[in-house]
Symmetry: C2
Subunit: 682 residues, 2 copies
C-alpha cells in the first residue's frame, strides 16, 4: 500500500519545526539521561505480553481485575529482576497506563509503615513487603466518611485482658469503601480506625491488619471483603477497589503504628510530639498528581494535534498552508478556531510540566529541611501543593475532554485513546482532597499572610510577597493600579503578565481577608466561593512564575544543558500564550476593578490570536517533543506515523462482532420481527 | 431494618417545599395529560424483562449489541401492539435510556423517504418500513468526511445500458462510517452518494439501498459491512455503529429518492426547485436535542441533589439546617459552595425545558407555514436552532459531569447513573453539527440582520430586534449604555436582565459585522472565535427570554392550567438565578465595554449568592418535580427514597467478583509472587 496522504501530511507538518525536538524533549524531562532512562524503562514494559492493550476496550470490570492482578505481579517481578528504584517504578507505571491492584502497596502501604512505624515495626513488615511476600493496601475511606477522619466509624478498641486491639465496623456506614487493592489482591492493610481505650476516643490512628491467609488467600474470620463494582467511564477497571467490614477482629498491640502516638501494654496512651508531621506524604501525593496532570494533558494534546493535522475537511483557500495540491481539502488544524482551542492546551501542558518539576523539587527541599528539624516551609508548601493540585488537575481534566471534542465525530470512538485517558485523569478532581474543598487550604494560608503583610511585611513567605504591594503604605496606590500595556506587543512581557496576576491575586486575597474579618466568626463556609477564586488565582500566578523561571534557567548561559536559541524562543511564546490565554479565560477578574481597560481587553484578545497563529508551524514538533511513544498513547488517531484512517480501520477489525457472518440475535429477535406481518417483496 | 438516616433526611428535605410539586410537574411537561401519558408509557417499558438495566455495567460492546437488538425488536413490537404515535415512541425511548440499533429506522430512514421520496416511492417502502418488515438506517458520514457533503467519496454512477445505479466506494476513506443500525441490524439504508452521469458530478443525493437478504440476513455481494467497535466512555454500547463499502453494487433507477431532484431512464437530470427544502429535518433533530439537553441535565441534577441531601460530612453548626439531632454531621447540600454549584444547574434545567418546548413549537409553526408555501421563517428558525443546539448541549454536557463531581468520592462509582448519562449526552456536542462549527450559522444570520437593522429596521426578524437599539440613530446612545442596577435588589427584574443580554449580544454582533466588513473577503475563518461568542450570547438571551415568557404565560390569569402563586414565585426565582448566574459566568462580556461597573459586579455576585440561598428549602422538591422515575435514573445514589448507602451496597453485591471465595488469578499470579522468596512468618 502506498504511503497514505495522512502519513505525508504529518511528515510535512513535522518538517516545519523551527527548533530542535530532542533539545526540547531534554528540557521537558529534565535531562538527556532522564529521557534515555524513561525510554529504557518503557521498553521493559512494552515487550511483555501481559501489558499489551489491544483487548482493553472489551474487558468488563470482572475480567479486567484478573488482568490487573496479572499485571500487578509481573510489575513486581520486573522491579525485583531489574532492581529498579522508586523513580524507575513510577515510569513503569506511566508505561503501563492503568491503575492496578498493587499500586497502593508501594504508594501507601510501605510509605505509611515507613513514616509512622517504629524501628521494630519496620523490621517486622518492611523486608517482606519489599519482597512482595505480603501485599498491602491503605484503608481509610468508609461508606459514610471520606474527608472527615474524626468521624470514622471503624474502631480499634484496646482489650485490657489480652493487650490486643479489637477491630469493629460499628455501623453499616462504617464499611471501608473504595480501598484499592483490597477487593482481590492484598493480604494486609493499614487501616485508619478510631482508637478507643476504656471507652475514651483518641481519634483516628493507623493499624497494620492481616486480611487474608498467606497460605490460601482466604479472608480471616471476622473480616468480610468484597469488590465495590465498576467505576464511571470504565475507569479504574483493573483496580479491585474494595470494601471491608470487621466483626470483633483481634490484632496484636504492636500492630498499631507507634512512631508518633504510642499505647503501652497497660493501656496508657502517649500523644505525638508534632501534629503535622504526617503532612509530608500528602504533599508528595499532590505533587505527583500535578506532574501527572501535565503528563495526561500532553498526551491528549499529542493525539489531537496529530489527528487534526491529517484530518482534512472543506477546501478553504484562505487558511490552507500547503499549496502543492490545491485539490486536497484544508487540514483541520489550519482553521483558526481549532488553533485557538488546541494551542493553548499545548502551552498549558508545558506550563504543567514546569509546575510539576518545581513542586517536586520544593517537596524534596522541604523534606530535607524537616529531617534537620526545620518545619518553617511546611505551611507554605502544604498550601501551595493544595492550590496547585486543585487547579492543575481541573485544567487537565477539562483539557483532555476538550482535545477529544476537537476531534469531531471520530473523537467519540474508543480508539482515540482519549476515553481511557479521561477516565484516568478525572478522578484526580475529586480524590486526595476534592478540588473545591481543597482550595480552602490556600485561602486560610493567604489570609494569614495578609495579616503578616500588614503587620510584619518582612516575614511574608516568598510566594505571597505580591501581597506587600497591596497593604500598608502601598494600599492606596494599589487601588489605583492599572495595567501598563499600551499596544498589543506590550503583552509579550513576562513581567507585565506577572504584574497582572499579582494584582488580581492580591486584590482577591485582601477582599477575602477583609470579608472574613468583617463578619461574625464561624461563617467560613459563606466565603468558600471566594476561597476557590483566590486559590485558583494564586495557582495561576505560580504557574506563570514557574514556567518563566524554568525557561529562564534553561536558557541561562550557565545552564548545564542549555536550551539553544530557537528552542528558547518557542518556549517563551508558549509561556506568553499560557499566561495571556489564562488572563483571557478569567478576564472578569482583571477587568472588574478597572485594572484592565476595555481597550486592553481587545488588545489582549488580538495578541492571543496572534500568538496562536505564530505557533502553527511548530505544533506537531511541540507535541512530538513530549516523547510519548505509541505504546503509551494507544491511539489509532494519534500515532507517531499519522496513519489515522488506516489504524482506525484496523482497530475496528478487532471487534469480535466482525468475526460473524450474521449477528447474534438474528434468529432470536430480528427474523421474527421481519416476518411478523408476512413476507414482503421489494 | 429500621428506616435509615438517609431516608429520613430526604423525606425531611422534601417536606420543606413551599410549592405544590404536581403543579410544577404539569408546568414542566406542558399539562397534566402529558404527565399521565408519560407515566403510562414508562410503565410499558419498565415491566419488560429485556429493558432491565441491572447488568448494563458489565456488558462489553460485543454483548451489548445483542442486547440492543433484542431491545430494538421488542420496542417495535410494543409500538405496534399499542399502536403508539411518534410522540409516545419518543417517550418510550426516554424510558429505555440507551441508543439502539433501531433508532435511525424511525429517526431518519422513514423520515428521509417520506420527505424526499415520490408518492410511488412512499408506496414502495413506507408500508413495509412502518410494519418493520424492512429495517433501515441512514448512511451519510464516511471515514474521511463528515460535514462536507460535496466531497463524499461514495459514488452512484448512472449505468446507461441498464438504467441502474452502480454504487462504489471509490477510495479507502470512502467507507461509510459511524452509521447507527448498520453494523448488525438493518436490511436497508438510505445512502448519501455523489450522483454521476456520464462522468459529470451532480453532488450528493439520496438512494435507498438493500444491504442484507430478507431471508437469511447475509449481506449482498458487492456490500461489505462491519461494526466500528466500542465508543468513548462506554457510550452507545448497544448501538451497532457500522461501516460499509460498496463494490460495483447495482441498484435500480427508482432507488434514487426523486421528490426534488430527478433522473430519467435516459439519464437526464432535473434540479430541485428549492435548495433549502430539506432544512426542516435538521431543525427538527436539533430541536429534539435541545429538549433532550434539558432532560439529561435535569436527571443529573435530580441524582446529585438527592444524594447531597443525604450525604453528611463534618459538623458545621453555622450551615446546618436541622436542629433536631446536633450529633449528626452537616448535610453536604447545606454548604454554600455546594449550593452555588448545584442550584444554578437546577435553574438551567428549567430554562432548557422551556427552551426545548418553545423551539419545538417554533418548528411546528414553521412547518405549517412552509406547507402553505411560506418559507419566511426558515432562515431565522434554522439559525436559532443551530445556536441553541450548540449552547444547550454544551451546557448539558458540562452540567452532567459537574453534578457527578459534586458527589465527591462516590461520584466516581458507575452506580451513580451519571457515567451512563454523560456517555449519552456528550456526543451531542459533536454530532448533528459540531458545537463550534455550528455557531457560524447564527453568526452569518446575525450579520445579515445587522445590515437590515441599519438599512431597513422594520424588516429585522423578531428575535434580533435588539440590534435596532444599537444601530442607526441609536448607535451613539448605545455606546454609552450602562446597566441601571443601583442596589442588589434591582437585579431581580426580568427586564433588567434582558436589557443586559440584549446589550451584550448587540455589541458582539455589531463588532463582528464591522470586522467582517472591514477586512478582505474570504477570511471568514479568522472570525470564527467571534462567531462562537455571538452565537452563544444570542442563545443565552433567547433562553432568558423564553424561560420568562413561559412563566409569564403559565401564571397568566387566562392560562388553561394556571400555575398557582407559590409555584410561580419559585419559578421566577429560578429564572432570575439562571439569568444572573449566566451573566456572572460570562462577566467579562458585560464589563469590558463598561456596561457594568465594578460595583455592579460585586452586587451581582451578592445577588446570585442570595438567590441560591433562598432556594435551599425547595431544592429537593424542584428536582422531584422533573418526575424522573427510579427506573429511568438507574442510580443507587439518586433514587426517590434517598436510601443511598444501602442501594450502593446492594449494587456492589451484584459484582460477579463477589461470588467467588478467592479471586481468579490467585493460583496463577498471586501465590507464585508471595512464595517467590520463600515462606514468611508474621
Amino acid at each position: 500500500m502506498a504511503q497514505s496522504q495522512n502519513v505525508k501530511d504529518l511528515a510535512a507538518a513535522r518538517s516545519l519545526a523551527t527548533f530542535n525536538v530532542p533539545d526540547m524533549t531534554n528540557y521537558i524531562h529534565g535531562s538527556k539521561e532522564n529521557v534515555e532512562q524513561r525510554r529504557y524503562i518503557f521498553s521493559l514494559i512494552e515487550k511483555e505480553p501481559i501489558f499489551q492493550k489491544k483487548d482493553w476496550a472489551w474487558l468488563n470490570h470482572t475480567d479486567a481485575v484478573k488482568r490487573g492482578i496479572g499485571m500487578s505481579t509481573r510489575l513486581a517481578e520486573i522491579k525485583m529482576e531489574n532492581d529498579l528504584n522508586d523513580y524507575d517504578y513510577s515510569i513503569m507505571l506511566e508505561a503501563v497506563d492503568d491503575t492496578l491492584p498493587i499500586l497502593l502497596h508501594t504508594g501507601a502501604f510501605i510509605p505509611v509503615i515507613t513514616s509512622q512505624g517504629t524501628d521494630e515495626q519496620h523490621e517486622k513488615w518492611l523486608p517482606s513487603a519489599q519482597k512482595f511476600q505480603i501485599l498491602g493496601c491503605y484503608a481509610q475511606t468508609e461508606l459514610g466518611h471520606g474527608s472527615n477522619l474524626s468521624r470514622l466509624e471503624t474502631t480499634a478498641t484496646f482489650v485490657r485482658e489480652t493487650g490486643e486491639w479489637e477491630l469493629n465496623s460499628t455501623s453499616f456506614t462504617a464499611s471501608k469503601w473504595w480501598i484499592g487493592g483490597l477487593g482481590a489482591l492484598c493480604t494486609h492493610a493499614v487501616v485508619q480506625a478510631l482508637l478507643i481505650i476504656d471507652g475514651k476516643d483518641y481519634g483516628a490512628h493507623v493499624f497494620v491488619v492481616p486480611l487474608r491467609s498467606l497460605e490460601n488467600h482466604q479472608t480471616f474470620p471476622g473480616v468480610e471483603i468484597g469488590d465495590i463494582g465498576p467505576k464511571a467511564y470504565g475507569g479504574f477497571s483493573k483496580m479491585d477497589n474494595g470494601y471491608a467490614r470487621f466483626n470483633k477482629y483481634r490484632i496484636p498491640l504492636d500492630h498499631m503504628l507507634m512512631r508518633f502516638s504510642k499505647v503501652s501494654r497497660d493501656g496508657v496512651y502517649t500523644k505525638p510530639p508534632h501534629a503535622k508531621l504526617s503532612y509530608g506524604s500528602m504533599v508528595l501525593l499532590r505533587s505527583v498528581m500535578i506532574r501527572q496532570a501535565g503528563n495526561y494533558l500532553s498526551r491528549a494534546a499529542t493525539i489531537s494535534t496529530r489527528y487534526l493535522t491529517v484530518r482534512r475537511q472543506f477546501n478553504n483557500p484562505t487558511v490552507r498552508r500547503d499549496t502543492t495540491n490545491p485539490q486536497l481539502e484544508t487540514q483541520v488544524i489550519n482553521y483558526p478556531m481549532v488553533q485557538n482551542r488546541l494551542f493553548p492546551l499545548i502551552a498549558q501542558s508545558y506550563a504543567l510540566f514546569a509546575a510539576g518539576q518545581q513542586m517536586m523539587a520544593m517537596y524534596f527541599r522541604m523534606m530535607q529541611d524537616m529531617s534537620q528539624g526545620n518545619v518553617d516551609a511546611l505551611a507554605e508548601v502544604h498550601a501551595m501543593s493544595s492550590a496547585l493540585k486543585s487547579y492543575c488537575t481541573t485544567l487537565s481534566g477539562v483539557g483532555v475532554e476538550e482535545c477529544r471534542k476537537m476531534m469531531g465525530g471520530h473523537g467519540y470512538s474508543y480508539f482515540t485513546g482519549l476515553s481511557h485517558l479521561f477516565s484516568m485523569v478525572i478522578p484526580s478532581n475529586t480524590f486526595e482532597g476534592d478540588n473545591y474543598v481543597l482550595t480552602q487550604q490556600l485561602a486560610r494560608y493567604i489570609i494569614k499572610e495578609v495579616k503578616t503583610a500588614r503587620t510584619n511585611p518582612d516575614r511574608v513567605t516568598p510566594f505571597s510577597r505580591y501581597l506587600i504591594r497591596a497593604t500598608g503604605k502601598n494600599a492606596n496606590a494599589f487601588g489605583r493600579e492599572t495595567c501598563s500595556v499600551a499596544q498589543d506587543q506590550d503583552w509579550l512581557s513576562w513581567e507585565v503578565q506577572l504584574a497582572a496576576f499579582e494584582h488580581r491575586a492580591a486584590r482577591l486575597a485582601i477582599e477575602l481577608a477583609d470579608n472574613v474579618e468583617g463578619t461574625a466568626d464561624g461563617n467560613w463556609s459563606d466565603h468558600n466561593i471566594e476561597c476557590y477564586r483566590i486559590s485558583h488565582a494564586h495557582a495561576q500566578y505560580i504557574l506563570v512564575l514557574w514556567f518563566g523561571q524554568a525557561i529562564r534557567d534553561a536558557t541561562a548561559a550557565s545552564a548545564d544543558e542549555k536550551v539553544e536559541g530557537p528552542t528558547g524562543q518557542v518556549l517563551w511564546k508558549l509561556s506568553h500564550l499560557h499566561a495571556l490565554h489564562t488572563i483571557q479565560t478569567h478576564l472578569a477578574d482583571f477587568v472588574e476593578d478597572g485594572y484592565l481597560s476595555p481597550g486592553q481587553c481587545q488588545s489582549l484578545r488580538r495578541q492571543v490570536k496572534a500568538l496562536v497563529a505564530s505557533l502553527a508551524d511548530n505544533a506537531v514538533a511541540l507535541v512530538d517533543a513530549f516523547d510519548h511513544p505509541d505504546f503509551v498513547l494507544n491511539s489509532a488517531l494519534g500515532a507517531q506515523d499519522g496513519d489515522a484512517y488506516k489504524r482506525l480501520w484496523d482497530a475496528a477489525q478487532s471487534e469480535p462482532l466482525n468475526q460473524r457472518k450474521v449477528c447474534d440475535g438474528y434468529e432470536e429477535y430480528i427474523r421474527p420481527l421481519l416476518k411478523r406481518h408476512g413476507e414482503v417483496k421489494l
